[in-house]
Structures are given as C-alpha cells and as structure tokens.
C-alpha cells in the first residue's frame, strides 16, 4: 500500500545532515592513513574502556549522553598499528588540524556559497556510545549559510562543519560493544540544510545534488559508508524527528514518506485517545499487576522462550490500559504498530527482549482462554480495554515499563521528539532521546585556526566549476552536443562522467561515455530494464574492459543488459555468456575474402556501390566481435583490390 500523503496539507518539512568522508592522505588530527582495514582483527591490540558522562561547561548533563551512560557498557577497541595510533586511543592529544582536510572543506563551503567563518574553533560534541574513544567528537563550524538548487526550489544550507569520523562498530554482544579504530579520525564534512525541503523526492534530490557537488571536488571518498545522511523530519503539529544513519541515497524518499506517515498517524492516535477519554492518570507504575502465577499455571501452553525466562527468576508484570482496544495494534507504518513503538522503548531503556500487547493476542501460546483469564485478573473488558505484559528480571521489567509508560503518556501529546535509527526497509526505530546543546564544549587541546587569504586561495583549486562553465567545456572541449551536455549535467552520472573522461579519454571518446550514460541507459530503461540496479562501480568496470579492448563499443548495450540482470557477473563472464570472442584481423580478412570471392561478380558489376552490400554481409557474421570501422576499412580496401586486379 502507499503511505503517501498530501505533503502541502500536512506541512512536511525536511532538513538533511550529510556526512561525507574526505579523501585526504592522513586523518584529521593525526598522521594515520584514511583507509579501512580489511580484517580489523589483524594485528590488532585490544583495548577496553568505559565512558562516564561529563558535564558541559554549563553544569548540565546531556540527555542522550545520560541514556548511554545508564547502559553501563564496556567498549572494546581493535587498534591495529597500521590504521591507528595513540591519538585514536585517546592516549595522545590531537595534532594540529590536517590542512588538506581544511582546504577541501573550505572548497566545498565555497561551492555551496556559504559564508566562511573568520576563525575556526573546534568543539567537543559529547558522544558516549563508545564510537569515540574520548567520549566526544571533535567538530568545528567552517561555514554558515549557502544554498543548493533543486527542481522544486532552493534549499538553504544552515552550517558546514569539519569533523572527525567515529570508530567503526564491529559487533555488539552482552553489553560489550566492539569498535575498530581504523575509521576514527577520518576527516568528515557535515552539511546541514535548513528545513526547506517539502517532499520525499526533493529530499532525495537535495542529497543527490550536494553529493554530486562534493564529488566534483575530486577530493572526497567513494563507496559504501563514505557518505551518510541524517534526516530531520517534521509535519505540522508533529515534532522534529532526527533519523540517523541512512547510507543509501535511494532510501531517503522512502524514509521521509514513512516518517511523515508515522507522525500523521500518531496525531490521529492522539485524537482517538482524547475522544475516547482514555484515563491517562491510570497509566502508571503503581498500577502494574504481577501475573507471573498465571503464566506458571499455564506453563504447558506458553511459548518456550517465555517459559525459559520465567524459569530464570523472571516475572510477568502487566500494565492495564483502559479503553485501549485496538490502539496498541494501531498501524504506524509497514509492519509497525503503536505496540512496536512501545517495544522499542522497552528494549532501549530496560534491556528486555520486547513486550506482549493485547492487540496481538492470541499468540505465543496465550490462547483465548488464557487471554480471558488475564483480562479477568486485570479487571478489564475484552471488548474495550487492552494491556501490556513484559516478562524478564524484575528490575529490567520495571525499567522497561517506566519507559513504556512515559511513551504512552507522550502519545496523548502527539509526536515525541527523539532520535531514531533508519532500517534497511525504510522504517525507523527509536534510538535515544535527542541530544541538547549541552553536549558541546571547547576542544582545549587545539588552538583556533584563522582563515587567511592563503588558506582561501588553496581552497580555490578544489572548488568545482559552476555548471554554466561545465556545460560550455563539455560542448567545446569534449565535443558533446548541447543537448547531451545538458542532460549529463542534470543526471546522476555527472561526477562519474568526469572521472571516466579523466581516466579513459582519448582511448574512449567523451561522446561515447556521455551517450552511454545518458542515451543507452535511457533506451535500456524504456525496454523495461531497471537501470538503477547498476552502480557506478559496474559502469566503470564496463568502461575499463572497453578500454582494454575486451569488446567493441557496439556491444555496450548487450553487456549492460546482462549486467543489469546478473550483477554478480564480471565483464569477462558476461562476454562468455554473450559467447562473443573477439576475432583477430587475420580471421576477419579471411571472412571478408570469402564473402568477396563469393560475390565478386556482383562487385565488379556494381563497383563501389557494392560496398554497402558486402559490408552488411560481413557485419552479419562479425558484429560485436570487432570495431565496425576496422571492418569497413578492410572491406573498402579489398573491394578496391578486386576491382583493380580485375583490370578495370
């Protein structure tokens, strides 16, 4: 089903935070390389640390930080000397900021027409989930303001920051989180837009536009995980929800669509709660009922996992919810109900496996009869009311219920402000409360950097050229038609095009690259093929093979067709599938000789005019195996030879 809404009507507003790794030689604050270990465990020393909540200079404790601290987790760091040093281990203060990174960041700020600050101050942004060994991320604003154009209007830039990337999470098990330090400290540029975006599509286009612009500096990293988007989404009367960790551009519009829907539905839920006059004050911890005995009595029926928890000193507590019938199962998105939202909170704060709510029953071996027993015990009506059960160690259950109750109360107000994590399917889950500005304090180990003329001049060399100039260059220098050049600039392949031209021209002409990326892909798409299946690596592989003469350009559409359908095949395998082998010039000459000798009378009769006929016959048997231009040359030569030798 579609979750689309009328976005003007619901007042959708979206802002993006785009994080892009810069392609520098060394990290932002030390001299380690900026590449990732293939095997993070190789040669790694394992260091164990814990983090405590620090107070900001205003004596406040950040709610997001407190949340992580309460979980009391142990952090394990894989520190390979090839990828990290004492700086990443928080055992040495940061070195002065990497000038190369600063210059690239300034170039991007300039390209976005941002106002560059006069002096740069690095801050410590408190992050105590262990992803930074120090417990904070070093970050500095380098630019304020600016804008990017989209087909649906201008989107303003709020700020541009230069910061260090976090450590790479390897695994999370039993309250121990393992991180690899290779990624920690890679320079990252963070671009935050104003909430000017009004539709899911515009969100995706904005991310794409900014992404292309950064790519065109030629100084940013490519590949999965090198660019990450966070989204801030709100609707009228909703709340600004921060969604973290979107790695795929194509997911953005889906996430916006689903989050707008979720907020829209939460507002509807609020109205229902008010209409039904659900007694809000009755939803509290002191209303919990211990129904462990019911479960023990029914232990032959219930699901094994429940039995196992109960056997390990688990208790089953139930929260009665008057007039809640149907509300726990209230749909908030694909496979997402209000009950799933509550379960997320129970898991995050109580560390329990989840919860059971009345709208999903009968399930887990709780049959109609058992269900009636529960309703009776809780003095609730099967027809009108609902309940939630959580089963685990008492302390965990209480913590979980505390969070669940808080969340239910928030439902009476509408949409609670929080940070959510993006899932693969475009839905989101509760992650933690939103951090406040209490999380920022000055990085005292670094001195401020004055942005002087010299720095700005250095940055100038990476500022991508404006599109008007690019257009002219494509036409005048690359020989593209104006139409093709224009389509290219508007397409998602603009950065790839420039990179391919840099690598493969003149061996492969810019026209061929451009028309493949624009016209051929468009043609394949109108054949009904899903060209979005192809990523840039696929396309580049095909051009590389072409430059190595593995096949001829006539065959590009065929190769692409196979690649779209069988992405795991490499070009060699695809050529085998197409059972095309290149033919040698000798073989070609033999084929041509044979055809010419068979048709010699015709040739003599029609003279040069026979060329097209012969050419057609030859191509029939060599198409795709060799460049048509070469075939034409030889055919022409052979015909002339024949005509000459026939003495005429």
């Amino acid at each position: 089903m579609s979750y689309r809404l009328n976005y003007d009507e619901i007042g959708l507003r979206v802002g993006l935070e785009i994080h892009q790794q810069l392609d520098t030689k060394t990290k932002l604050f030390c001299s380690c390389p900026t590449s990732l270990a293939e095997d993070p465990y190789k040669n790694a020393v394992i260091i164990e640390r814990r983090l405590r909540v620090g107070k900001s200079e205003l004596g406040e404790i950040d709610p997001a930080a407190l949340f992580e601290f309460r979980r009391g987790r142990l952090y394990r760091y894989l520190a390979s000397p090839s990828y990290s040093c004492l700086v990443e281990l928080d055992e040495e203060p940061p070195h002065p900021v990497n000038r190369e990174a600063l210059v690239i960041a300034l170039a991007i700020a300039k390209a976005l027409r941002s106002n560059i600050v006069d002096e740069i101050y690095f801050m410590r942004k408190i992050v105590v989930d262990g992803s930074n060994t120090s417990g904070f991320q070093r970050t500095a604003i380098i630019g304020l303001g600016g804008y990017v154009e989209t087909s649906q209007g201008i989107v303003r830039i709020q700020s541009i920051a230069l910061e260090e990337d976090s450590a790479r999470k390897i695994e999370e098990k039993d309250n121990i989180v393992t991180y690899s330090l290779d990624r920690l400290g890679i320079p990252l540029i963070e671009i935050s837009t104003a909430p000017d975006i009004r539709s899911p599509e515009q969100a995706e286009e904005t991310a794409f536009r900014i992404g292309v612009l950064m790519r065109l500096t030629g100084k940013v990293k490519r590949g999965l995980g090198t660019i990450r988007q966070d989204l801030n989404i709100s609707i009228k009367n909703g709340a600004k929800i921060e969604i973290k960790g979107v790695q795929k551009l194509e997911l953005i519009s889906k996430i916006v669509e689903l989050e707008a829907y979720r907020q829209y539905r939460l507002l509807q839920l609020k109205n229902i709660l008010l209409e039904r006059e659900v007694p809000r004050e009755d939803i509290s911890l002191d209303k919990l009922v211990d129904i462990t005995d019911l479960f023990v009595n029914n232990k032959n029926k219930i699901a094994r996992f429940i039995r196992e928890i109960l056997e390990k000193n688990g208790v089953a507590l139930a929260l009665p919810l008057k007039r809640f019938k149907g509300l726990l199962g209230f749909e908030l998105g694909p496979n997402r109900r209000f009950g799933s939202e509550l379960a997320d909170h129970a898991r995050a704060w109580g560390g329990v496996g989840g919860l059971i709510h009345s709208d999903e029953l009968p399930k887990y071996g709780i049959d109609e009869e058992f269900l009636k027993e529960i309703f009776r015990r809780l003095s609730l009506s099967h027809e009108e009311d609902g309940f939630i059960i959580i089963i685990d160690e008492r302390e965990k259950v209480l913590k979980a219920f505390e969070a669940v109750i808080k969340r239910i109360h928030q439902a009476f107000e509408g949409v609670p402000q929080e940070t959510r994590a993006a899932q693969e399917d475009g839905t989101t889950r509760y992650m933690r409360p939103q951090p406040g500005s209490a999380r920022m304090y000055p990085e005292t180990d670094l001195i401020p950097v004055k942005v002087d003329e010299e720095l700005l001049k250095e940055a100038e060399k990476y500022v991508p050229e404006p599109f008007e100039i690019k257009l002219r260059r494509f036409v005048e220098e690359h020989g593209l038609s104006k139409d093709l050049a224009y389509s290219l600039i508007r397409s998602r392949y603009i950065a790839l095009y420039e990179e391919l031209v840099r690598k493969y021209s003149p061996k492969i002409s810019p026209q061929l690259i451009a028309s493949t990326l624009i016209n051929t892909l468009k043609a394949l798409s109108s054949e009904g093929l899903d060209v979005s299946q192809l990523d840039e690596k696929d396309l580049e592989e095909i051009f590389r093979a072409l430059s190595e003469d593995k096949f001829s350009k006539e065959l590009i559409p065929d190769v692409l067709r196979v690649k779209i359908k069988e992405r795991d095949k490499n070009v060699d395998e695809i050529l085998r599938i197409l059972s095309i082998k290149r033919i040698s010039l000798e073989d070609l000459e033999k084929i041509i000789d044979e055809i010419i000798s068979k048709s010699s009378e015709e040739i003599i009769k029609r003279r040069e005019k026979a060329f097209n006929i012969i050419m057609g016959r030859v191509m029939e048997s060599v198409r795709g195996k060799i460049d048509g231009k070469i075939v034409a040359e030889i055919v022409k030569r052979k015909i002339l030879e024949l005509l000459r030798s026939s003495g005429q």
């Binding site: 640390r49 200079e57 055992e91 106002n115 006069d118 904070f136 500005s437 209490a438 920022m440 001195i447």
Partner: protein, 442 residues
C-alpha cells in the same frame, strides 16, 4: 566590569561587548544569534568568539559584524553541580583526601580556553559517587596548582598536614590528589619526610581531565580509595592506571616510580621494582604483588620535615661545560645530583670541577640516566676517578628520588660523611639491592 573589558582583546573593546552577553548581528549575509564567549589565549585580536545556539563556537572579525544588537545579559553559570547532597556512611573506614590540584581536579577555563585545576575535592567525590560505598571521605583542598608549579616549600606544607591527619587514629588512609608531572617527586618527599608511617599515603592523578567522558580520573580515584582503605602497607605510593585499558590500577612506591610517557594513562612505571599491588576498581579488591613492605602500625609517625633548596639535578652529556658546576659552586649550592651516562659517568674533564665542588663541602651524588640498573663507579677508570674525588654513588636510585633525598638529607646535616651515610641507607625501599631479570621494561 570595566576592568574585565580592559583585559579583553581589541575586537571586544571596539564592539563594546563582553563575555556573557546574548547578541544578535548580521554576519556577511546571515543573521546570527549567540552568547559572547571570552577570547582564548590564541584568539586573534580582531576576532570575537560567539557561541551559537547550536552550541558551536565561531570566531568572527569585528569588522564583519553589522547591526549589532545586545539582547540580554546571560552569564553562563560555570561549574556548580546542582545534584543532591552527598550521603556519607559513617560505618565505613574514614579517609582524608588532600587536594593539591592537577589534571584530576581540572576543567576547562573559559578565560584561557585551557584546562586548569579548579575542581574541589568535594566536586570530584560528587562526580564519582561509587567511592562512597568504600569509605567515609573527608577532604581538604590545600592547593589548586598544576604540578609543574610544585615546590619543595609546598612538599613541607603537604607533609605537615598529612602528618597531623596520620596522628589522628580515626583515619585509615590518606589520599593526595596531585598533578602527574612531578607526582613522584612529591610522593618521594613525603616518603622521606614522614618516617615510621602508620597508614598508607596514596597519591593519585589523571592524564585526562575529569570533565572528559574518557577521563582516567574516576578509576584512578576509586583505586586510590580502595588502597587507602585496604592496603596492608603504610608507604607513600602512587595509584594510577596499570595499562591503557580501563582494567586495573597499579599501586607503586613513590620513590621507585617515574612518569615515563607524556600522555598515556599508564605513564607511571615502577623502575627497578614491581608495583606493590594491583587494584581491581570494579570488584573493589586488591592483589598484593610485593611481599616486602612497611606495614600499617599503631605507632606514632615521626615528622622529619624540611628540604634544602640549594640542591641541583643535572644531566651529563657529551660536551657538558664544567662552567655549569662552577656556577653552582659560586652560588653556594649544597648538593648536586648528577644523572650520569651508563654506570653514572661524566666526561673525564669534569673530574677536577667535581673535586672542587666536594672540596667546597658540596655533596655530589651520582645516579644514571639509563634509569634501569645500578650505578657502578668501579668498572671504568673515569668512575674510579669520580669515586676518588668523593662522589656518593646512589645504587639503583632514580635521579629524581636522589634529588629529593639529598635535599632532605642536607636539611638535616652539614657533615659530608653523614650525608654519605644517610644517602647510602635504605629508608623507604628507595634502593633495591636485588635487581632480578623481570625488572626491566616490561
């Protein structure tokens, strides 16, 4: 207020703004709002620092600020923690924490943008409430200095205060919070200044300031409290991270310990010795490693306070100028500790000036800059010449410990032979007669 403004950079004066003001202004083509922050030491004179609503600080040229409006006075309240009152358990062993400053008691200071000691011991305890389950903690803040500014005069004050607490039977241990730079000097000074100790004196510091989530302060402090309460030894010790991981706290003798890394958490290493014990700050227990130690006792400690200030510690090197010693002789120094090369050597040409110093009644003690191993002046000709000149070899004593001990010794005697005798007497395990194979660079 006027005076504050005078100390600010030019940009602040021209704009007439001071820290704490909430302002709005046009900057290039943006309208910005934020709180004026104090300039850092390295802030350009033409720049003011503004904290934006999103928490970031930026530096803006005063000349770029247009349409400045002052909205309100909103001084950022620095520091005070508004949490509940500390509840102490009287049934727990009582200890005293003496604060002297250092990173462990430091936080960011806005005026300079630097880390300075400003946290009181109480604030530290408040931030590490776990310790309240281990001990009943009293505290006194004696100084708030970074330890590079520590002086022998301060050692004397610290010794005096600690001694008074030690005479009170109520205390089971003493903790001294201290900067790490010269912690082993002070710990050595206290080791000598209070003889016949009855309870442990535990020095503790941190390599990362307490306001950082990754600070080592909390675990080190917990380790120190456990040591103060549980240690069977009554020595002047240092409790700091045993390794870079947050696992154990090593408790080492002040006289045998040295700061060996500029920045690592496990910077303190026992040299020519082992840590006395390892503490697990999570399980709150202690594993004793060294079996020979000065035990706790019921006897009254003896204060032998006082350090001679005319003692120098010099490093020998190829090309060292004899004039350096001439200067010390001229300035009427009373003692010189040489950190010699190898076995404790100085260049041969230095021997006449050393002889001259000794003839001027200056005590010359010899240690080695290799730190590991024992001084031996009998093996080579130069060493024998040094001995003949009358230097005092200090066995395997650390140069810093020898410096403290010589200062302490010279405060008590003029007689060079008495000095030689005291320097050669092992008072608090400052010398290890048995250097076993395991005692080298682990």
């Amino acid at each position: 207020m006027g005076s504050l403004l005078n100390e600010l950079n030019k940009a602040y004066k021209i704009l007439g703004v001071e820290p704490g003001l909430y302002i709005r202004f046009r900057y290039k083509n943006e309208i910005l709002e934020g709180v004026v922050m104090p300039p850092y030491v390295f802030t350009d004179p033409d720049i003011i620092v503004v904290k934006l609503k999103n928490g970031y600080n930026i530096g803006v040229l005063y000349s770029e600020i247009k349409d400045l409006e002052i909205i309100e006075m909103k001084r950022p309240e620095v520091g005070s923690i508004s949490s509940e009152k500390i509840v102490q358990r009287k049934d727990l062993p009582k200890i005293i924490v003496v604060g002297t400053g250092g990173t462990i008691a430091s936080k960011i200071e806005y005026e300079t943008g630097a880390v300075k000691p400003s946290t009181s011991v109480d604030e530290l305890i408040e931030a590490i409430p776990e310790v309240l389950d281990i001990a009943y903690i009293e505290s006194e803040t004696l100084f708030s200095i970074l330890s590079e500014n520590m002086r022998p005069e301060y050692w004397e004050i610290i010794a005096e205060r600690i001694y008074n607490y030690m005479r009170d039977e109520a205390y089971k241990g003493v903790i001294v919070t201290h900067g790490t730079d010269t912690m082993s000097f002070t710990a050595s000074a206290i080791a000598f200044a209070i003889q016949r100790k009855n309870i442990p004196i535990v020095f503790v510091g941190s390599q990362r300031s307490s306001d950082r989530p990754s600070s080592d302060a909390a675990l080190n402090f917990i380790g120190a409290v456990i040591t103060a309460v549980k240690a069977p030894f009554a020595e002047s010790v240092i409790a700091m991270h045993h390794e870079t991981s947050d696992t154990k706290i090593a408790v080492s003798r002040g006289v045998k310990t040295r700061k060996m890394h500029t920045s690592r958490r496990d910077t303190f290493r026992s040299i020519n010795s082992r840590p006395l014990a390892l503490v697990d700050p999570f399980k709150k227990d202690m594993e004793l490693i060294e079996k020979e130690y000065i035990p706790r006792s019921k006897e009254e400690p003896i204060l032998m306070n006082g350090f001679d200030k005319k003692v120098a510690l010099i490093y020998s090197y190829p090309g060292i100028d004899p004039e350096i010693l001439e200067f010390l002789i001229e300035k009427k120094y009373r003692g010189i500790v040489i950190a010699g090369t190898g076995f404790g050597h100085v260049p041969e040409y230095m021997i006449p000036v050393i002889r001259k110093a000794i003839n001027n009644n200056i005590a010359v003690a010899v240690t080695s800059q290799t730190l590991y191993g024992r001084v031996n002046l009998s093996v080579y000709q130069t060493g024998r010449e040094m001995l003949r000149a009358g230097v005092i070899p200090c066995e395997d004593m650390l140069p810093e410990t020898a410096y403290v001990k010589l200062s302490w010794t010279l405060y008590r005697t003029d007689n060079i032979e008495s000095v030689r005798k005291i320097m050669s007497t092992n008072y608090v395990y400052e010398m290890n007669p048995r250097l076993t194979e395991d005692l080298f660079l682990r």
